[in-house]
Amino acid sequence: MFALDEIKKSFLTSIWFMFLTFPIMVIRVNTVENIVQWRWERMFLIGIGSFFLSFIWRYLLKRKERGRKKADRGEVDRISWNRRIAREPRFYIPALIGVCGFVLAFPFIFSLYQTNIMITALIYVITGLGLNIVVGLAGLLDLGYVAFYAVGAYSYALLNYHFGLGFWAALPIGAGLGLIFGVLLGFPVLRLKGDYLAIVTLGFGEIIRLILENWNEFSFGPSGIANIPRPGFFGIEMSLQQATIYLYFVMIILALGTIFVVRRLQDSRIGRAWIALREDEVACQAMGIDKTRTKLSAFAMGATWAGMAGVVFAAKTTFINPASFTLWESITILCVVVLGGMGSVIGVIFGALTLILLPEYLRVFSEYRLLVFGAVLVVMMVFRPGGIVSQVRRTYQFKGTAPDKPNAEAVSPG
């Protein structure tokens, strides 16, 4: 019996998970007062939860397997809905106008609090797009991305503290310092293979954070730097409300600029070299692409955007300390890229808005944020490695039958 077999499997799974989570979930000891707390209801919940989840898990695995077999036979899946919308002008032009109108009107419709959240989400859009160059296009797993973010934020804060430099002067400096750090850190480590690179960049991220925490004379240690000015506009005094709306529009422009540059980069020679490098290093080198230089440029590009976003972050919060630049920040940005779709610009924007806005509005679940992020990383990798809006490989479709006169049509990615 098919169904009975499935139920038996799920039943065994739920027993296994009840056993597995027993000591951590059910028992809680208070070692000071020597009280043991038994929370049996949790065991019950886990049993039920894993019973049903295991059905879904197996169903998805089977579906994925079927999809893979189909792809092996050469059958192409039908074009997904998002791709169809992106291709038809009569769908995407009204959608685009709608989005533009919403974006422009946003700070005037919603409260200051909402606008602030949106600014945060936009910072993640920029950092996400930057990391997307490194992880999504070039396939280098950078776990120390937040270090460059910190470099940007601290460069604005310190330059402002010591020399009174304004936001607009600090923005290119922050981006430039990000670039320089990207090259400096990238140079020694980029000869390494993928997984080593992840650990070394993680190490660099932690080194920078620990230095910021311990070198009091330079960075004011864990207490951080306060009173960082918001961006100015030709020296006009602005109220908090106006300053926030202004910052919102600055962010929109920066985000649009980032999107523009990233898309242009993707289609350029260097962008194609990144993608080729991600797919196969050896073949790529055989085609005459300088591996180190290409990797380094991806690394430095990503770092530049992080530096810029760092300056904005410092200007937005007006206070920074090393606690904002932990490894988890890097992983959040990574999660944005992975959820949205590695290599896809729309995907990253979507990922940033989902991952940053949802926890803000679902305050009840905010403590489960990192737990869910972890699960999202695993589930996405297992079932949909391309992300929600996955990047479709650039292909040429040949139409018509005459072999001497092929009518090539380029299908551009969304």
């Binding site: 296994w16 056993f19 597995l20 989570t21 000591p23 951590i24 979930m25 028992i27 809680r28 000891v29 070692t31 000071v32 020597n34 043991v36 949790r42 695995l61 994925k64 992880v135 396939g139 797993l141 776990l143 020694p188 480590v189 000869r191 390494l192 993928g194 997984d195 080593y196 992840a198 650990i199 070394v200 993680l202 190490g203 660099f204 932690e206 080194i207 620990l210 230095i211 311990n214 290093e281 050896v282 073949a283 988890w328 992983i331 990574l334 992975v338 403590e367 489960y368 990192l370 737990l371 992020f373 972890g374 699960a375 999202v376 990383l377 695993v378 990798m381 297992v382 490695p385």
Partner: protein
């Protein structure tokens, strides 16, 4: 001189713990070429399980040796179960996926397990009962070396010997070595590769849990975050010794433990964690294959 010896023994203790964790990394890497990011979390869960069991038993008033024994056994069993499940859930479906996918999945698992313990238990440091009783015959040199340190070093040595025996002389060990050399070929000659991979995860988790129990009862407190730092350092040790090589992992761990101990003893303790990372960066730049590792050419 006395100070030097004290630091040396401290370093060896530290190194022994790193070795117990690093073995898991190196064995898994040797077989499926994956950095098991969540390995540190398995160690942490082992320590937590031991803490829970030990606390319950000490409330019931058992004697210390029995508590130590039972807590260790339960912790090892649970860590094995976690290691096994971890592999089945997060890595097995990705066996044929690009390595980047498996690595991201591993990071996700690590984040998940940390927060799972954080939410189900507590974010505070929890005091861990010191389970290892003082041995009488060590009293004359008590100023130099404490009983827990001796116990840790001795236990690690025993585990190493047992593990070497397992790898060198048993059927499972042979299957492991075959899988590490060439997975497809091993499959062809009848090795159940899935089973070998599961066993590797189980053995690695068991040694990590043992390390977790020992260090927790030596230091005296744990929280949900201990797995991360310990995991990273053990990884550094595994790379230092040459990842994929078991004697290398032990040697690397001892070298790293002593180097850290001397660094904090003679230079500065502020930058203790930075020091490990700096070592890692330098090895990877100058000798990526590690002390005992062999550098192999990339297969196309």
């Amino acid at each position: 001189m006395e100070y030097f010896l004290e630091l040396l023994i401290g370093g060896l203790t530290r190194g022994s713990i790193y070795a117990l964790i690093a073995l898991g990394y190196t064995m898994v890497y040797g077989i499926i070429e994956l950095i098991n990011f969540a390995h540190g979390e398995v160690y942490m869960i082992g320590a937590f399980t031991a803490l829970i069991v030990a606390s319950i038993l000490s409330i019931l008033g058992w004697n210390e040796i029995a508590i130590l024994f039972i807590a260790s056994v339960v912790a090892v069993v649970y860590s094995m179960a976690y290691g096994y499940t971890l592999e089945k859930v997060a890595y097995k479906p990705l066996r044929h996926a690009p390595r980047l996918s498996a690595l991201i999945s591993a990071i996700g698992m690590s984040l998940f397990l940390q927060n799972y313990v954080l939410l189900a238990q507590t974010s505070d440091f929890m005091p861990f009962p010191s389970l290892i009783p003082d041995l009488k015959f060590l009293e004359p040199i008590a100023y130099l070396v404490s009983t827990p340190e001796v116990v840790i070093i001795v236990t690690t040595t025993i585990v190493m010997v047992l593990l070497t025996f397992l790898i060198k002389f048993t059927r499972v060990g042979k299957a492991m070595r075959a899988t590490a050399q060439d997975r497809e070929m091993a499959m062809l000659v009848g090795v159940d590769v899935d089973r070998v991979i599961s066993i590797t995860f189980i053995v690695g988790s068991a040694t990590a849990a043992l390390g977790g129990v020992l260090i927790a009862s030596h230091i005296g407190q744990i929280n949900f975050y201990i797995g991360f730092i310990a995991g990273i350092k053990a990884f550094v040790a595994a790379v230092l010794g040459g990842i994929g090589s078991m004697p290398g992992a032990v040697l690397g761990s001892l070298v790293l433990g002593c180097a850290e101990s001397f660094f904090t003893g003679f230079v500065s303790s502020d930058y203790e964690d930075v020091f490990a990372f700096v070592i890692l960066v330098f090895i990877l730049i100058f000798r990526p294959a590690g002390i005992l590792g062999r550098s192999d050419t990339q297969k196309v």
